[in-house]
């Protein structure tokens, strides 16, 4: 009797872990990858804000209010920065012909602290000559470089979303899990409370909450307050969804087994139930970050958020509110474009994550 079993022609590949499958599915989505790469770039820029920005965010150029963008030009093998002169009248500038300075990389300039720790004064690019400034995105009503303020502002905008979702999602997960797991009166009280919060249009609720804090406080405090306010509002929606998922997960055999083994309620919720909601949570978190970014923008724009002279995207847009400014100096809208790109990147990535997490499709 022939005992040799037929050998498979091709050796079977080791099975992929769920994480690997997810990563493969995500990588095949071009839009998600574009969003991811954009976000990595934006966060690197925000971390290196002091180094990349040519000037300090409070530095005022009293000779150049509302200066239009200045771009370097190619001259021979060098990049040169042209000089502009101020014409009499309302912030009208004219290029001076044949008067340029070469653009240098790694030049000395305003002092800053990288990551708030390392004191440095090297900047990625610049002319090193105050008479030949380089304002890639022009200057604002106080003669401050918009690109520099945009970069410093991105520190606020890009971090506020991350801190915000961490707080509101931890709250939402825990409270939603407790609500669905225990049911009954607890569930009823928590869900009515969620409905209450969700039935007020967001910005009205935000203003009512903002009113409980003093009107003029430091920008660092406002930063914390914005996170508190938006977390207070946004955990409710999260908790509702998690509660629904917990309700159906409670019927699963593994939860029954954990109960039968006498594990504590909190441990069952945190260790057994909540990890099963993570594929939803990651997608929802990515798509929620823009709400915090836009929340800061809205509040700062309305004048109850980050205050001058700090740089924030909402605050910078506030300057564009004046129709005359808007008509004559359209580069003031640059922060709006930055917000658009950031939110778009989060939506791209979130959409791709959702498709990759949806194993049914």
């Amino acid at each position: 009797m022939d005992t040799a079993t037929p050998q498979p022609a091709v050796e079977a590949l080791p099975p992929l872990s769920p994480g690997q499958i997810f990563w493969r599915r995500l990588r095949s989505r071009k839009i998600a990858m574009i969003g991811g790469v954009l976000l990595i770039g934006l966060y690197v820029l925000a971390i290196l804000a002091g180094f990349v920005s040519p000037y300090d965010y409070v530095r005022q150029d009293h000779a150049r209010f509302f200066h239009p963008p200045i771009w370097p030009e190619v001259s021979g093998f060098h990049l040169v920065v042209p000089r502009y002169e101020h014409l009499s009248g309302d912030c009208v500038y004219r290029r001076v012909a044949d008067d340029t300075r070469p653009l240098h990389f790694f030049v000395h300039g305003d002092a800053y602290r990288l990551l708030g720790l390392v004191p440095l004064s090297v900047h990625l690019f610049g002319t090193g000559d105050d008479a030949y400034p380089i304002y890639l995105l022009g200057t604002d009503q106080f003669g401050r470089d918009i690109l520099s303020r945009l970069l410093y502002g991105s520190e606020i905008s890009l971090s506020i979303g991350i801190v915000g979702i961490v707080i509101s999602f931890v709250l939402g997960l825990l409270i939603g899990g407790i609500s669905g797991y225990f049911g009954g009166m607890t569930d009823n009280v928590i869900m009515r409370w969620c409905e209450l919060i969700m039935s007020v249009p967001t910005l009205y609720m935000v203003i009512a909450l903002r009113n409980t804090f003093p009107a003029s406080i430091s920008s660092a405090q406002v930063y914390g307050i914005i996170i508190i306010i938006y977390s207070f509002i946004r955990w409710a929606g999260m908790a509702r969804v998690i509660r629904g998922m917990t309700l159906s997960l409670c019927e699963q055999p593994f939860v029954l087994a954990a109960r039968a083994m006498g594990q504590s309620h909190l441990k069952i919720i945190v260790r057994h139930i909540l990890p099963n909601t993570f594929s939803y949570v990651i997608v929802a978190a990515t798509l929620s970050v823009p709400y915090y970014i836009l929340g800061e923008v809205d509040l700062s724009y309305l004048g109850v958020g980050i205050q001058e002279p700090s740089a924030s995207w909402g605050l910078m847009l506030n300057a564009a509110q004046n129709t005359e400014y808007l008509k004559n100096y359209p580069w003031l809208l640059a922060p709006g474009v930055a917000i658009f790109i950031t939110v778009l990147a989060f939506n791209f990535l979130g959409d791709g994550l959702r498709d990759a997490a949806d194993t049914k499709a």
Partner: protein, 321 residues
Amino acid sequence: MLNFVLKRLLHMIPLLVGVSLLTFLLMSLSPGDYFTALSQNPQISPETIARLKAQFHLDRPWYVQYFFWVKNVLSGDLGYSMAYKIPATSLILARLWNTFLLSFFALILAWAVAIPLGISAAVRKNSWVDHACSLIAFAGLSIPDILLALLALWFAAATGWFPVGGAASPIHDLMSPGEQFWDYVKHLILPAIVLAAADLAGIMRQMRGNLLDTLRAEYVVAARARGLSPRWVIYKHALRNAINPLLTIFGYSLAGLLSGAFIVENIMAWPGLGRLTMEAFFQKDSYVVVDCVVMATGLLVVGNFVADLLLAWSDPRIRLK
């Protein structure tokens, strides 16, 4: 059906009570009030301020104030605006009407554009129409209301085709009724477009998704197998069922719309509730802030009620439950 309507109406009451209580509590936690600024004024004696406070029950704890407020609201009196020195009722009702008008037109505009786009994207899946629609959806979901409103302002200022800000021209009262109507429309059109554009993307994506789901359903295949024309199957069988889930997001989209209206009103100077809230906020006119929050919530709750009615009307399973 009557039972259903009554149940829904009764459901609204605890919600409004809860929201007004919460807002009152938040107001009482607020540091300083309208009188803090007044007391700096040497021309106003402390006695006058004490008298004024007593007159409006502002010297009492917040739950007593709340009790007086509810009593007054039930008799149609929304309190008194300290900053405007007029009864809050007329002030707020005028602003409420403006916000309603703006939101209502934006809603109609958004749905009128989003539904046909969503349908054509689903019917011609993966065609250029579909790709263009998904591009619009991504852009619409990502563009901040503020940027859109500022671009609209810039457009209005650059072309001069539309008035910049306000709900009516200064000479509105001198116009004939026909001109007055046209004047309103001209002021309303830009804010409504901005608001609708922000709302449009979500509805369009939902419509496309729903219709794609129903087009895969067996009854659609069966109808096609019986030889019905594709057009008939899409519009009579699939679309009718794809509309139902859309009515449930109507309420959700309304919440976004009212919040969006808040920011659009403040940027484009549309005299609505959102603008009034900010004015009252800066002047510490606490009754008016409370009234605005409760009114906006009321608008949302009524909107959700209408959505429920529409859903019950279109889907018998819901009203029989």
